[in-house]
Structures are given as structure tokens and as C-alpha cells.
Symmetry: D2
Subunit: 361 residues, 4 copies
Amino acid sequence: MPRLALYRLPMAHPADLSALRALLAAGEVAARDIRAIIGKTEGNGGLNDFTRGYFTQSLMLLLAGYTGETPAELAARLPCVLSGGTEGVLSPHYTVFAAVPGGAPGAPGLAIGTAFSPPMLPWQVGRRAQILAVAAAVGAAMAAAGIASPADVALVQVKAPAVQPAALRPEDPAPRSTAAGPAMAYSRAAAALGVALALGEVPADAELEAALLADFSLFSNRASISSGIEVVANEVVVFGQAAGWAPGPRLAVRPLADALDLPGICAAFTAAGLPATPQLTAADQARLGCVLVKGEPDRRGTVRGQRHTMLGDTDLDPQRHLRGALGGLVAGVAGDGRLFVSGGAEHQGPEGGGLIAVFAT
Amino acid sequence: MPRLALYRLPMAHPADLSALRALLAAGEVAARDIRAIIGKTEGNGGLNDFTRGYFTQSLMLLLAGYTGETPAELAARLPCVLSGGTEGVLSPHYTVFAAVPGGAPGAPGLAIGTAFSPPMLPWQVGRRAQILAVAAAVGAAMAAAGIASPADVALVQVKAPAVQPAALRPEDPAPRSTAAGPAMAYSRAAAALGVALALGEVPADAELEAALLADFSLFSNRASISSGIEVVANEVVVFGQAAGWAPGPRLAVRPLADALDLPGICAAFTAAGLPATPQLTAADQARLGCVLVKGEPDRRGTVRGQRHTMLGDTDLDPQRHLRGALGGLVAGVAGDGRLFVSGGAEHQGPEGGGLIAVFAT
Amino acid sequence: MPRLALYRLPMAHPADLSALRALLAAGEVAARDIRAIIGKTEGNGGLNDFTRGYFTQSLMLLLAGYTGETPAELAARLPCVLSGGTEGVLSPHYTVFAAVPGGAPGAPGLAIGTAFSPPMLPWQVGRRAQILAVAAAVGAAMAAAGIASPADVALVQVKAPAVQPAALRPEDPAPRSTAAGPAMAYSRAAAALGVALALGEVPADAELEAALLADFSLFSNRASISSGIEVVANEVVVFGQAAGWAPGPRLAVRPLADALDLPGICAAFTAAGLPATPQLTAADQARLGCVLVKGEPDRRGTVRGQRHTMLGDTDLDPQRHLRGALGGLVAGVAGDGRLFVSGGAEHQGPEGGGLIAVFAT
Amino acid sequence: MPRLALYRLPMAHPADLSALRALLAAGEVAARDIRAIIGKTEGNGGLNDFTRGYFTQSLMLLLAGYTGETPAELAARLPCVLSGGTEGVLSPHYTVFAAVPGGAPGAPGLAIGTAFSPPMLPWQVGRRAQILAVAAAVGAAMAAAGIASPADVALVQVKAPAVQPAALRPEDPAPRSTAAGPAMAYSRAAAALGVALALGEVPADAELEAALLADFSLFSNRASISSGIEVVANEVVVFGQAAGWAPGPRLAVRPLADALDLPGICAAFTAAGLPATPQLTAADQARLGCVLVKGEPDRRGTVRGQRHTMLGDTDLDPQRHLRGALGGLVAGVAGDGRLFVSGGAEHQGPEGGGLIAVFAT
């Protein structure tokens, strides 16, 4: 039976797949077992961040040489979830998630399942069509993983398409927004509420499209979303407990109340079996498999009552501000900068906060 | 006998002195008792950050209305140490340090003393002349405070001048550097080694000018330096124990090994009587007086063996990267973003690291 | 009778008024004759650009020493129109406009008139209230100048308030936008249509509030607007022909079709008596009094059919892009970087374009 | 006999080769005839600009499908000269230069020749080894083109390697600089003096290594250099007159005195047969083949005596400033933003200036 395996690998630049190439060449990882890649590249994280697409193209070229598919075929079935922006102490890296055969049966293990929605047309992004497409893809990914119930889902990671202005055609309906920030935010928001819908975290009859970026009382505590122009469909990766999987890594997911929620961060590490007192021991650092974090510049302009300057800065994008700060905090606990910290946590965790997921091996 | 008092005040923008104005109007602070101001403004923290000068001008205008001096006279005797850059969760604020009469005698208390070096000529910045000028000013500030020995000095905060290209005249010797980053770094480095010299942390016969930005084995564990074009002299503020001062706030100063040194940060808070477990309790947050932190993007390109991207980023200044990350980490412990976090810790604490000072009331 | 006089002065930094100080000290300019200041400071030009406020504070302090008013009184009657951002070859500078007595009668001369609207509340910015307030102030400024008819108005320069998030109070109605870019854009748009209304360039019964940032067929060909948080009222400066003024400088104002409209730029210089063939001669450069330019990144994403990247850049603000490019073009014609080039030409000139005003002495 | 042909093509993003793909598919261009690609991508133009590498990877993948080589083999023989940064009105695009057979004999035509130097080791960049390697490659490229004499060379375009920090190994000698700006500048400087040496524009016995970024009286009036981490060798493209080539496009190259040298720009267009009066006519715009421009922020801090702010800006890279301004100026003359405008003109044209090359078809 399959067992989930994680490989957290460094990259020297966005096209550097040498670490994975070495594992494949040595036979330590089989290309056909790879289910998803989640990583951080060193771009600006915005609409015009092309480091994500550059990594994706390089990855698919490498793996296509092993699987016999074309790079395009591979890109249409293998989720590659990249978040740009390694501000501060964050370190460019990627985690390869594989389903390795031959796992020993035992208690239900941590399963991975993936699915792609149909490609989104520009005008569908940030609208009801995307919400429903993501919700359906979450269901498909659960089925692929053999996860029986929404209650067994621990985390849903989505890479959602952002509207690429160059892709617009005059005959198309207008997109929700072509401004760089909102174009990405609406896509994240729709994907987050799509996850919430699939997991039953919001009422099935809620007016979800109207709630996007408006009603932040609706959110998922298990959704982590990145958006970008390098994908055209919603790429969904679901993690959860399933009977058909051998015990493997441990995964703890916790909401974050705000960008200063050090207790929440420590709780997630501890729940994953890596006690933070306040920093992981060296031995536990070696067992750290992957950390995913979402957060956002609080739109009310303050954090715990003190004014922040993230939202009105003409020089530095708000999400770059946020990733630097939240990344610095989580890295201090982990003792390690190889973290997937992503800005824009709209409808992902409570307003002004976000969530953290810790994989321990 | 005097007692040190601290007032940590918010600012709505760099010219907003309304909080101090209210304290002065209410008689809660007497202008003549104010010894120094240390704060963070929301500029870029670089050579062309004018938020520092704007705050200083506004401050001196306000206080001059009380002391009877001209703003220029006041600016020449009252240190106003500003660091630009409130990346991430950092919150613009300033701390007013006052020597309040009528303190109750007791054990030696925390004293404050200040001094100004003569104005520096552009070519003197980052050279031996500045090192010696700072060392002399540290001695003068100790004397002003009544601090008997370098061993009794806890912290020296300096605002050092950076070369303003517009101030250069053809007849002057060339400055050490006019490039924005090095111009500020050399000034910080010279001031740091000036403090180290005054405190006996480096050999008196060391070739200090040659060591600037070159030999990082020479450093001070008690120096915190900011530089900027808004000052023309080295403005020095010394804190330490002195018999003539009533017991007042508690001050703990600790080196930071690197930008992930969460244990070191917690140790400093705990030593100041504010146990970090991992975050200060709400009660202890109310007793937090002021936090000063220095750090830097490790020039070796890695933090704990993992590559960082701070030094080669054409879009985002390395010090903005650093302040965001280190600020996020310390703010998580403090539960508060009103922190003086300043980048560029050359010769201030160990290489790649820095230091932290916590005042508790 | 009065004659308009212009003094274009350099600044070494945003608080450097030394050039005007020297003119005042020498008696070459009388403070009481000064009617307006229009200039460029070296900030980022955005919501968090404090170089404009710093210059204004410094200017009012200087002039108050001459006029006997307080700086606050002066700031409430003397327009100080600053645009941040000296990208590329643009050079920080300011032009002092004065009405000098003793002009020789002749043909109607170029007049200047100024007026302030009442202070705007945050929620009024970018709404009908601001449009009407600006229109009324334009009328008042015309009256102050003795300009008889809208047809005689050559140019209206306005500094309009942008919503300062820190100024919002919970009890106030919500502002039109608190996002940095739109907050400034709505204010510029409302002021532009206010000018258009006053000058009869749009129908008096048009639904102007609904047209803001939506219907770009409504615009003024004689409005140049900057917005910023450093002002609270709409500060209006009107230039035009009036019988009561002695012949003085010549002013030519022309619309710009787009950011490549070199023929339009040359036409404006030539109309001001400074033939551009293609660059001004050295003799004519000495007669150049002041140049005001508005332009914008074309919101359709192309310039003359070729894709531009100004609007989707996460690193560099669109207006910084625009000012650099348009500034470089006009500076090439003028042979001089001391130009007031300002981004955000919403409803000021044709869509995607803007306008240029050239004063020659 | 061969004839030089140019195809200036748009790109929707850095991996968009659709325009060239269409030409290849239609048989309008034969992959084997392509000699070089020169283009602009929409990155930041700095050390961490990966849009150049992304385009190169995409291009080589496309062409390898036609030539039967591997992408790596192709990349080692086909120069792909990319400059990042399309500030302001600049439009991402690339020009394909091909040697098309079957040209009609006539007067000596415009020839193209290319050569690669051996790969540079990091420590060789910005040193004598690079200067000599470029000089040798220029000679090889001339020979490949059949250009008989340095006097017949019109322009040498070089893409030179910048030191990639991740490529450094402990056992290597230290590189000239690892700081982002200087690392690129030293490489450009060495390549420029390598061209100057090959063309006899500097004395053969000059101390060229010592002159790099120090003695700007040594320069080439025919060298245009870009540097970047995406190449490992110096890739050289030489254009000039040769007897073995059929008459083809016309090429005019002129130095630029400074960033305001509009007369110099107009002269280059006019010399190429495209009179600028001041803007090209629509008919002549259709004949515009390719424009290459180099310029730089004047290191003396002024342009024609007026202070500029490009060099001390912590927010915006000096070369981004420059490209925006110079690009805006040349685009105004061309009436077109598809220009290769590149910053950093060290030893390329006179100090503070640069050069312009105009191809007309």
C-alpha cells in the first residue's frame, strides 16, 4: 500500500532542479510516484513574477524525460504549486510529495490526492464558476486519495489561475479585475471558498460570489491558496487520513489569529510532534518535512491595535511586507528558512490571520 | 535624584508629534527633562529616506516652544535617533527618554547620558576621525550620566552621519563612498568600532580604520548604530548603571547569533523581567518600555546553511528584507510591533547577527 | 499693475529652501508677493510620500518669518503644489510664482489667481462634494486674478487631498477608497472634473460623480492635478489672460495624445516662443520658466498598439514608470530635467494622454 | 550570397515564442539561418532577473526542434542577448537576425558574425582574462562574417556573464565583486574594453584591467554590452560591412553625449534613412528594423548641471531609472516602444552618455 514521502530540496535559482535530478538518477525517487510539488521561488510573488513559470517549465522538462509524457501532458496532470517571494530569511526550495509503494499497513495514514479543474476563462476567475470548479476538484482529489469524508481532510493546497492581461481577447466578457493585486486576490478568494464549500465549512446555500473579498466571516481553516498567471486551471492537492495509506508523515494544521500569533505557530509544531521550546531542537529540525503558512496584511490597518504600514506603501508590495515578517517569525521557531510562506490569506483562516501546516517525518 | 522614565508613543505619520504634545500640555512630561528620542519612521531606511529629517524638524519645533531654545540649538544638543523602515508588522513610534527629578535613592539605577561629537566632514565619515570622535563622545556621555566605568555601560545607541552627496564640495577630499549602501555602512561601522574602543571591547592599538567592513572579528556587543543624512555629528546616547540615579527601568542587552536566534531574543526579554513563554503575557506587555534590535543580512549568503536572497535583490533593499524578517520574529515574542529594529549591524554583535536591548518598566 | 514673475529654483533635498532664502534675503523676491509654489520632490509620489509635506513645512516656516503669519495661517492661504517622484533625469526643483507690482500696462497679461476650497472630509474625496468644491474654488481663483471668462483661462493647477488612512475615524462615512493608488486617483479625477465643470468643458448636467474613473470621454484640456495626504483642502491655482495684468511670461498649454506624443510636446514649446528643433537652443533654455506635464500609463495596456508593462508590475509603481518615461522625453526637448512631470492624468487631457504647459520668460 | 534579415517580434510574456513559432511553421524563417536573437524581457534587469534565462530556455527548446541539436548545444553556439527591464513605454520584444541565402550581389552589404568566448570562471569576470577573451571573440566573429578590417565594424553587441553567487565554490579565487550592481558593471566594463581593444579604439598596451570602472576616457564607440547570470561565456555579435554579403538593412551607430542627447538620437535615425522631424513618419516606422540603445545614470550626480536622483535611491535601481527615461526619449522619436534600451554604458560611448544603433529595412 502507498506511503506518503516528502523530499524538501534546495534550489540555487528558479531553474535549478539539480537536487531532484540527482534523486531521480540515483533511483531514490521514481518519477511516476511523484504526486505534487510545492515550493518557493525568489520572484516578487506578484502578477509579473515569472520565476514560478520558469521553475514549472524546467520541472516538467526533467520529469517528462522519465515518464514518457510530453511536458505539456505532465503539466496538465501534476500539480506544481509555487509561491513567489523569499523575503528576509526565507530560502528558495521545493518539496516533492510522492506516493511510494510498499508501505506497511497500520492505522490510516496520511494520504495525498490531486485533481485539476477545467481551465478557467479569464472572466470566470474570481466568480461563481471558479468557486464551483474548485469545490468539484476538491471532491475529485479526495476520491483520488481515498479520503472518505470531509472531516478526514487536513489541508487543501490550491494553485489558482490569475488573469494574464495578455490572454484577454476583445470578444471575452470582462474579467473581475485586471489590476495586479485584485486579480490575484479574487482568484485566491474564490478558490478558498471553493474549498470551504467542499469541506462543509460554509453553508451550501451561502451567496459565495458576493462574499468574495467582502464577507470575511466566511472562510476555511484548511485551505492554503496561491494564485499566478503560470497556471490556467485550479490545481488541487488534498491531504488527509485514509485507510488505504500506510502511516507516514504527521501533519498538523492550525489557524493563525494574526501575524503575531507565536503561540499558534508553536502549537502547530508541537502537534506535529516537534515541540517548540521556543525553537525546535536540532534533532527535531532534521525531522521537519515541510511547512506551509498563509497570512496577510491586516486590512484594518493595525495589528493588535498598532498601526502597520503594509497597505499604503508605494515602494514595497503589501504581500512582500507580510511574507518577510511572518516568514521571519516561523523561521525563528523552525530554526530554518525553508518555509512555504505565502501572502494573501483571504478567506483562509480568520481575517487578518491565516494558517500553518507542519509536516513531520 | 534623577530617575529614568520612558514614554513609548505612536505616530500617525512622520510629522505627527501629537502624543508628545499632549503629554507636554498636560504636564506629564517636562521638555527640560527630555534627554533623547529614539524612534522608527516609515521611510525606506536608506540614504534617501527623508522621513527621519521630517520627524526631527517637527520634534525640535515642538520642544523649542517649551525650552526657549531655537530648533537649531535644540537639535545640536538633544539626540534624536531615528531609524527608517517599518517593514512588515513594525509600527511607527518613538520613545522619549527623560531624566525625571525626585527619584527615590536605592541601589544604583539605570542612567542616561548623551553627547554630540563635532560635526563630521564628509571625508571623515567611515574613517579614523569618526572612530575617535565617537569614542570621545561615548566618554563624554558616560561622564554626563555619572557612569563610572565602561563595565557599567549597558548600551550605547548612536546616530551617525551619512554622506549627503549634495553636501560635497569640489575642494573637499573624496568621501569614503558616495554609493548609497556603503555610505551608510561605513558610518555605522566606524561608530560601532568607536563604541568598542571606548568600552575596551577592542584593543586600543588595533588598526580600526583598516578593519571597517573587513575584519568582523572586531565588534561591540553593546553598540547599536543607525546612520542617516539628517544628522551632521555623531549623536551618542549611553545607558548604564550609576550611583547617582534612582532605580528605574530594567535593561537587558544580549547579542544575537543570527537572524533566527529566537532563544537569544527570549533570553533578553526574560533577563529584563519579562519572561517569554514564548510570548509575553498581556500584563508583561504593558510593562514593556522599549526594544532596540540590530541585525543584518548575513553577507555569506546563507542563514544556518540555507541560501537567502537578501543581498542580490535588485527590487528590494537588503536592509528592508532584514528588518521585515527580524522585526516579525521579535514582534512575535513581544506581541507588539512597536520595536526599533534596524538593519546594518556591522561590528555590532557577531557577524551575521546583531543584538537586542529590552527596557522594562 | 501686477506682473507675473517666475523663479525656478533647485533643491538639494526636500527641506532645502536655501535658494529662496537667498532671494528673500537679497530682496529680489518679497514674501508678500508670492502667490504659489509648484515643485517636484524626490519621494515616491505615492500615498506614503512624505517629502511633499516636509518641503511644505519647511517653506511655510521660512515665509512665516517674513509675512508675520504663523506657518499654519500661511499654509491655509498659499498653494504649495508638490508632486513627488523625480524618476530618471527629472531634477528636484520648485518654481515660485509671484505677482510683482509696478508692471507696465500693455496688452492683457498672464494673470495668476488662487483659492482654497473648504477642507474635505475623507468621505467627500472622490465624490460629488469634491467636484463642486473644486469648481467653486476655480471660480474664486479666477475672480482673484481678474480673469473675466472661462475662455481666458489657460491652465488650472490643483493640489487635491488624498485620504490619509490615519485620519479616518470610526464615526465617519467610509471613504471612496483607502487603497493607495485609487485613493489618490479618485481625488485627481474629482478635481479634474471640477475644473472641467468650472470651465464649461463638460455639460453642467452631466453625472460627474458616476463618470469618475469610468467615463474618460469627459475631461479637461486645461487641468493639471496632483493629490497627496499633505493637504486637506483643494488648493487651486489659475493662470489666464486678464486686463489688469502687465504683459509677463508667455504660457502655452497643449493636450498630449499619448506618452509618445513628441510632436505635441514640440508644438507646446514652439507656441510658447521656444522653438524645438528638436531641442531648445541654449539661449531659449535660459528663457524657459516652468514646464508642467501630466500623463499616465495607458489603462488599455498598450501604447500605439505595443504592450507596455507599467500596470502589472509588483515592484515598480505605474506612476513611477510613467514619470520616468514622459520626463525623459520632455527633458530631451527642453534640454533640462527641471520639469514638473506628474503621473495620473485621469480626466486631464485625452485618455492615455495628458497635457503640457510651458511658461517662457 | 547571404543577406541579413531582421524580424522584430512581440512577446506576451518572457516565455512567449509564439510569433517566431508561427514564422518557422510557415517557412518564412528557417531555423538554420538564424544567427542571433537580441531582445528585451520584462524583468528588473538586475542580477536576480530570471526572465532572461526563461526566454532563453524557451527559445532553445523551440529551435532545437528544428535544427536537430539539443537545447544545450544550441545555447552554446547561438547568441541570445537579452536585456531585462521594460520600464515606462518600453515594450517586451525580440529581434531575430538571420542570414538568408540567395541575396543579390551588389555593393558590400551589412554582415553579421558571431562567436562565443570560452566559459568564464567567476574570478575571471571583470578582469584581464575577460577583456582578452572578448577581444579574441570579436576577432572570431569578424572572421565568421567575413569583415575584413576593424574599420568596417559598425557595432559589436555582447552578452557577458555576471557572477552568480550560487556558482561560487570555496576553492575558487574570489570574484571581483559579488554585490549585485558591481558584479554586473565589472562584466560590462571588461567586455566593452575587450571590444575597444579588438577594434583598436584603445592603445594595445593600455592597462585595461586597472581602467575598468576607473578611467572612463577609455571607451568604445561601437560596443553595446549587457550582462547577466543566464550566460557563462561572452556571446559576441558583430555587425559590419563585408564584400560577401548582399545589400540588406542599413545600420547607423552614433554616440550619445548624455541622457538628454535628442539631437544625437535624431541624427542616428536620419543616418539610417529614417529622418526624425522630430518623430518618424508612419511610413518610416514600418521600415524600422531594430534599435539598440545604451546609456547610464551619470555617476557625477548631475545631467547638464542639474541634480538627478538615480544613484541614491534605495527604492528604485539606478538602471531602472535610466532605462525608463532614455527609453521614453528614444520611443518618442521612433513613435514605437519596441526598443532595446539597456542601462550600464560603462566604457560604451562617452562618460555619462552611451550610444544608439538604428537598423532600417
